[in-house]
Symmetry: C2
Subunit: 221 residues, 2 copies
Amino acid sequence: MEPVKAQKTLVEQTYDILLDAICSGEIQPGERLNQDDLAVRLNVSRQPVNSAISILRAQRLVADTGRRGVVVAPIDMAMFQSIHEMRQKLDPFAAELACLRKPDTAPDEAAAILDRGARALAQQDARALLQADVDFHAMLYRWSGNTFLEGAMALGWNHTRRFMAVALRTPSAPQIVWTEHRAILERVMARDTDAAAALMRDHLENAIDRLGFRDETGAPR
Amino acid sequence: MEPVKAQKTLVEQTYDILLDAICSGEIQPGERLNQDDLAVRLNVSRQPVNSAISILRAQRLVADTGRRGVVVAPIDMAMFQSIHEMRQKLDPFAAELACLRKPDTAPDEAAAILDRGARALAQQDARALLQADVDFHAMLYRWSGNTFLEGAMALGWNHTRRFMAVALRTPSAPQIVWTEHRAILERVMARDTDAAAALMRDHLENAIDRLGFRDETGAPR
DNA sequence: GACCTGTCTTTCGTATACGAAATTCGGATG
DNA sequence: CATCCGAATTTCGTATACGAAAGACAGGTC
């Protein structure tokens, strides 16, 4: 028999819902989080809401106002550039590691994610496309076998999703993105570390151009 | 006049105390966190303790037992190796960025940290030495101007401190560590990106050897 | 004596209660 | 009419209360 599944606590459920609302832009940056209001809307007491907000605060997804309560953290261009700067180092690294350590289920997973990307592309579903993009990169982090990298980047994606939700109403050249994704995965499957890392580097370089901003603070390449 | 300082909430204070107790090994890995007990000892109600634990859980510093309550997360060698693997990429990168973006106060800060390291070295104070080591690297992360890197690594150091607290009772060759630290800072001050990054790479390579373990999973160099 | 089972105790998650600080707003003052 | 001040209201942080589930234990059964 199957052991019963430990159901999530109200704190976790509340956290998950708030996280998604913040990252999807459903709650706008700068908007206040009213605990009473949220408690009523989520049909819980204020206690789980309060705890969930404590977690979000530790993750810098909400900010103290110094007065009363918290607001959704403003979209911080510097934060986004920080993440992207880090990804330029870590995504190729993760691709290398994934070549070496990918699990046996990799082919199936790869096929599934490419399929999901292709379908979102065909249906011009921007939201599904963004989610598939997140999942693609998260999958490589997972394959890298580096749990810390995986966790750190999970947080990074939450911030990135926020940024995308407001800045990227027009998905720029998504078919190219997924062609690149496919090429990267193909090299990972072949355990071709150098090529996978190189393709990933190009992928991120191109992403910068597509998003139309470039780091002017002089990061080394 | 100075604006009054918003004093920390009980949740934050509780979190800080628990974090330090966990990272320093004062509360052993696997040990249970009893909310009532902690509340009494910290002279607060269970409510702030409960919230603080929620944050620690999100950071994987405590783990659910599936039954009742949480325990301090066991020392996870894989987690530590993950962090070290990532640092091999990120610390040299941070050093490069620090060369380009270090603040004007850098010389003073550098002098202070080197002095602190030297004193801890002279007094053979292992705890102060570990803290100075943490602070040295954290300083470079800060100088890198990459806020996300800084935040992610702050979490990493918490895990690392835990590991050090149990595994590294004998500080191995600390004088060499600080000679290397001094050399790195000297290159950062001279804005010599390539040399700073190279020295940092060596520093981490050496650290692996000193700690007596090596990654056998085949990470690329 | 070993093991089962029902009950008591502990401890958690969550709800509610309460005091304090922040904000709002109306009336007094110029 | 604009401005200031203080009471009323809102909303937060924290304390306490309560129900449920886990663990401990004792008495009964074989």
